[in-house]
Amino acid sequence: MRLKRLGELCKRREGLEIRFILIQNRAGKTRLAKWYMQFDDDEKQKLIEEVHAVVTVRDAKHTNFVEFRNFKIIYRRYAGLYFCICVDVNDNNLAYLEAIHNFVEVLNEYFHNVCELDLVFNFYKVYTVVDEMFLAGEIRETSQTKVLKQLLMLQSLE
């Protein structure tokens, strides 16, 4: 009986990972899109629009989670920006919700009170920050101190 349950579980857990990370402003302009799954360009555009549509209609009384196709979106709003992570329906909601906040605190430290414009003008650096913290759809590093130390080191190489 155990074996069978184990089998079921493995099926359920297959492909557990972040599918994409999106940062959008209220008007729907994308400030970062990092894809961890193969989509073609049209599909990406469609996903971006759909995520914007489901997330922006929600208010503070709603949860930070939305079912989305066969996945779910965990999102948090900071001023005019929505940070969204798309994960498997069985994944841990609160862990990703705080992963977003951890990421935002790093950005805030790195860009010294981050604002939307920082993300626009330094888009190529934002990718570096993302890669330090998330890789292959998994959480890579959670220590803010370690991430910032590494970013500072890379900054010094410029």
């Binding site: 994308t30 705080e98 626009v120 959480i139 959670t142």
Partner: protein, 939 residues
């Protein structure tokens, strides 16, 4: 702490981005971008070699333009050049460009892989990191081929830097996900497991993800990870909030790593007793901490703490073996049900749903019923209410079913449209599952129809009828209740269906009451008739003919109705046919025959509830494996659904006892044995065939009949002195349904009557046919019906063969005919203008795509007939498209399960020569060929 100023590094890039932001219109933006693209192109093509900085700047601009949503068709080479730079910033931009605009150009892939190889070998941790991140982002098969052997070495080498180990672990994970066959297991696997002991928690975090994924596929090889994960978890949860320094997040020690370790443990059953004791301690500690006063008021603190708690509860549920922990988990979630944070209420409802299915915690979950019902009424977020419905459904049992069903029904009145159908299904299932008293069940379903009739699917009302028919203790009550419900001035059509069916079967049970006399019943139903759709009217007509049998006194009234022009001359074929047949039946048949033909429906065979099947289907991806079964179940149910039985099916339901004497009656699908040798001389061949798979040669003339069906769907397919085979079929996209009618033209019964559908090996994968065996006895003069459900999986050429074997007066009969299921049946017509037509025509100019046939006319060349045939063939007939008005052109799409194939056709008649030229163009040669063959035979 570091801080970067805006756009430092590349001034030109910052200026360009500012320019774009200042553009007032889309046109201005495009103009500015085109100017920049021209500039970059000229720089890249210029004679002067660009320095690394300029190259980096331009590549970065191209990337920015791409991210704005514009196509970029150059610059890849320059990006690849940047990879071999020795400066970090140049390399970084090169890798970023490659990661974002991954290009399958094989020439470049080789260059890229070469650069990655150099960086991996460089022993420079920064460069190694960039290379690994690029592989992890692209993850293509080519990269897996090149690096899957190399990365495990980097991962376990003693001198690899921690940050590189982190990247290598996840990079390997990515390659394992995309190309598991290319990642060889080996010595490295045991060393990877020991990374769980690493001092650097970042390495442990990354390694845990890798181990979890590998363990799912190779549980044996990674078994040792269980005890290591438990000790690591134990060290984390017992540490003081400051012990882990960098990895403490708002006073919670390493929350993400804890979650990952708990997930890894969910790949395995509960561990051995020694390890298990430690794990139980960990889980208890986590549960205890949830009760402690918070160390911070910040939501981050509570979220991080609860992320771990919820994962621990998932593990407890997964093990499902510690009653104490399960009940504690349930109590903890119970507290969250009333928490002020919506997130926590939502997650508690969701998690409790799984707890409800454990025998240890089911009772504990039930104690929260009032809170959950309250959530259903007060939650503002529809997704939270949805979870409350799910939980009520999960916690429902015999003791609380009446309360839960009542609450769900009352919620249904105001429920969001998006979740109504699901609630209807859930109520219907619970009402059936926990009905002690079936009058309650009937009331519940009628209430469902009253409150949310539009969301009551066929399955639900089929099911109530199946149950009423199978349980005679509830039939009288059901008749009385539907009769009362139908009194409402406006009632839902689904109620009319249920009412019509039930009164047709059991109206006699309430006819003694003068308030529901036969005439009143009839008038009540007929007052709804004109407001109903065609299928419902058809059902009501069957109810009327059943009334003729049940209540002879209303026969004249009903005959008058059937005789009226609005029935006998109804534009709908089905209604007209029923009216004609039923009227005739009521006039010519004796009371005895009427009583036999129209007798009460026999009980339905017990099978899985079709509603349950539907709910499973709605539940989507988690039960994908059940989906096929569900579909099959559904298709069976639809055929066997409780359509009141007209004359022909009733005949099927009364098997003749003589069939059983032969001992074959119960297994109609068994091949008919060879008949006694008293058979006629012409049957010698059949006498010696001992298997149904030996097919008789095709019946003479069937080829011609077959061709007639290419452009039409109904008619007689085959006829000899004994047997007539009629067809009626309908097709929609890649699906179809064919009704085959077997008429016994003699006055003697057919025994062992066994029709078999045969698809050749070539045809089988492309065409799915499903049917049920028919009754093995066909009475003299009777007709039986067989339904074939058809699915076109892929395009096909051959036609299936229908083989019929039966015994007639001691002789064995064997008939084979081709069943006219042809590729063109899956045509959907497409209208298009002349310009579009010829544009597509030109696009399909490849010689393999076109098939042409020039042939002599076999029939008179009549324009109208030709038009009708092309439309019957299934394509759209496009008028005023061909410059020559004498020509015919058509367009359509062949729908198969796997693909859709666009088809264009052109038919050019030549009256003088009495010839035609037919040209077919489709994207697939075999399709052009087959369609051309089929259509050529029509003129």
């Amino acid at each position: 702490m570091p801080a970067v100023s805006k756009g430092d590094g590349m001034r030109g890039l910052a200026v360009f981005i500012s320019d774009i932001r200042n553009c007032k219109s889309k046109e201005a933006e495009i103009k500015r971008i085109n100017k920049e693209l021209a500039n970059i192109r000229s720089k890249f093509k210029g004679d002067k070699a660009l320095d690394g900085y300029s190259k980096k700047k331009y590549v970065c601009k191209l990337l920015f333009i791409f991210l704005l949503g514009h196509d970029i068709d150059f610059g890849h080479m320059e990006a690849v050049n940047l990879l071999s730079s020795n400066r970090y910033t140049e390399k970084q931009i090169g890798y970023l460009f490659i990661s974002v605009l991954v290009n399958s150009n094989s020439e470049l892939i080789r260059l890229i892989n070469n650069a990655i190889k150099n960086d991996l070998a460089s022993r420079n941790p920064t460069f190694m990191g960039l290379a690994l991140h690029c592989i992890a982002s692209v993850g293509s098969r080519e990269m897996a081929e090149a690096f899957a052997g190399e990365i495990p070495k980097v991962l376990v080498a003693g001198d690899t830097m921690d940050s590189v180990k982190q990247s290598a672990a996840l990079c390997l994970l990515r390659l394992y996900r995309t190309s598991p066959d290319l990642v060889p297991m080996g010595d490295w696997t045991s060393r990877v497991v020991h990374l769980l002991n690493d001092q650097h928690l970042g390495v442990v975090t990354a390694a845990t993800s890798l181990i979890t994924t590998l363990a799912q596929k190779n549980p044996e090889e990674f078994k040792t990870s269980v005890s290591l994960a438990v000790s690591r978890l134990s060290r984390i949860v017992t540490s003081a909030s400051t012990d882990l320094q960098d990895y403490t997040y708002y006073f919670v020690p390493a929350p993400w790593l804890s979650v990952k370790l708990l997930r890894l443990l969910q790949c395995y059953p509960p561990p051995d007793p020694a390890v298990r004791g430690r794990l139980t301690e960990c889980l208890e500690t986590i549960l205890n901490k949830a009760q402690e006063p918070p160390k911070s008021k910040k939501v981050q603190h509570s979220n991080a703490k609860n992320a771990v708690l919820f994962e621990a509860i998932s593990l407890i549920i997964h093990h499902d073996s510690e009653p104490n922990l399960l009940v504690r988990a349930c109590n903890q979630l119970g507290q969250f049900l009333q928490h002020r944070e919506t997130n926590l209420r939502y997650l508690a409802l969701e998690s409790m749903c799984t707890l409800a299915s454990s025998e240890f915690s089911h009772e504990a979950v039930k104690t929260h019923i009032e809170t959950v019902i309250n959530a259903l009424k007060t939650e503002r977020d529809v997704s939270v209410r949805q979870r409350a419905v799910d939980l009520l459904y999960a916690m429902c049992d015999r003791s609380n079913a009446p309360q839960i069903v009542a609450e769900m029904l009352s919620y249904l009145e105001t429920a969001d449209y998006s979740i109504r159908e699901e609630i209807v299904l859930k109520v219907a299932i619970l009402a059936e599952k926990y009905a002690v008293d079936y009058t309650w069940y009937v009331d519940t379903i009628l209430n469902l129809i009253r409150i949310a009739g539009d969301y009551v699917s066929e399955e639900v009302w089929y099911r109530v009828i199946q149950i009423v028919i199978n349980r005679d203790d509830v039939q009288g009550y059901a008749a009385k209740t539907v009769f009362e419900a139908l009194q409402a001035p406006a009632c839902h059509e689904n109620l009319v269906k249920v009412g019509g069916y039930i009164l047709g079967e059991f109206g006699n049970l309430i006819a003694g009451d003068p308030r529901s006399s036969p005439l009143i019943q009839f008038n009540l139903l007929h007052s709804k008739f004109h407001l109903c759709s065609v299928p419902t009217r058809a059902l009501l007509l069957s109810t009327y003919i059943k009334f003729v049998n049940l209540f002879p006194e209303v026969k004249p009234t009903i005959q008058d109705v059937l005789r009226s022009d609005s029935q006998l001359r109804n534009a709908d074929v089905e209604l007209q046919q029923r009216a004609v047949e039923y009227l005739r039946l009521s006039t010519v048949a004796s009371t005895d025959i009427l009583a036999t033909v129209l007798e009460e429906m026999p009980p339905f065979p017990e099978r899985e509830s079709s509603i349950l099947a539907k709910l499973k289907k709605k539940k989507g991806p988690s039960t994908v494996t059940d989906l096929e079964d569900t579909k099959r179940e559904r298709s069976v149910d639809v055929n066997g659904g409780p359509e009141p039985a007209p004359a022909s099916t009733s005949a099927m339901s009364t098997p003749s006892p003589s069939a059983d004497l032969l001992g074959l009656g119960a297994a109609p699908a068994a091949p008919a044995g060879p008949p006694p040798s008293s058979g006629g001389g012409g049957l010698l061949v059949d006498v010696f065939s001992d298997s149904a798979s030996v097919v008789a040669p095709l019946a003479p003339g069937s080829e011609d009949n077959f061709a007639r069906f290419v452009c039409k769907n109904n008619g007689v397919l085959f006829e000899n002195q004994l047997l007539q085979i009629g067809l009626k079929s309908e097709f929609r996209q890649n699906l179809g349904r064919m009704f085959i009618f077997y008429g016994n033209k003699t006055s003697t019964q057919f025994l062992n009557f066994t029709p078999t559908l045969i698809c050749s090996d070539d045809l089988q994968p492309n065409l799915n046919l499903q049917t049920k065996p028919v009754d093995p006895t066909v009475e003299g003069g009777a007709q039986v019906q067989q339904v074939v459900n058809i699915e076109c999986v892929s395009d096909f050429t051959e036609a299936p063969v229908l083989n019929i074997q039966f015994r007639y007066g001691g002789t064995f009969q064997n008939v084979s005919v081709q069943l006219p299921i042809t590729l063109n049946k899956f045509f959907q017509p497409t209208e298009m203008a002349s310009q579009d037509f010829f544009q597509r025509w030109k696009q399909l100019s490849n010689p393999q795509q076109e098939v042409q046939n020039i042939f002599k006319a076999k029939h008179p060349m009549d324009t109208e007939v030709t038009k009708a045939k092309i439309i019957g063939f299934g394509s759209a007939l496009l008028e005023e498209v061909d410059p020559n008005p004498a020509n015919f052109v058509g367009a359509g799409i062949i729908h198969t399960k796997t693909t859709q194939i666009g088809c264009l056709l052109r038919l050019e008649p030549n009256l003088q020569a009495q010839m035609y030229r037919l040209t077919l163009r489709t994207s697939k040669e075999a399709v052009s060929q087959r369609l051309c063959e089929l259509l050529s035979a029509q003129f």
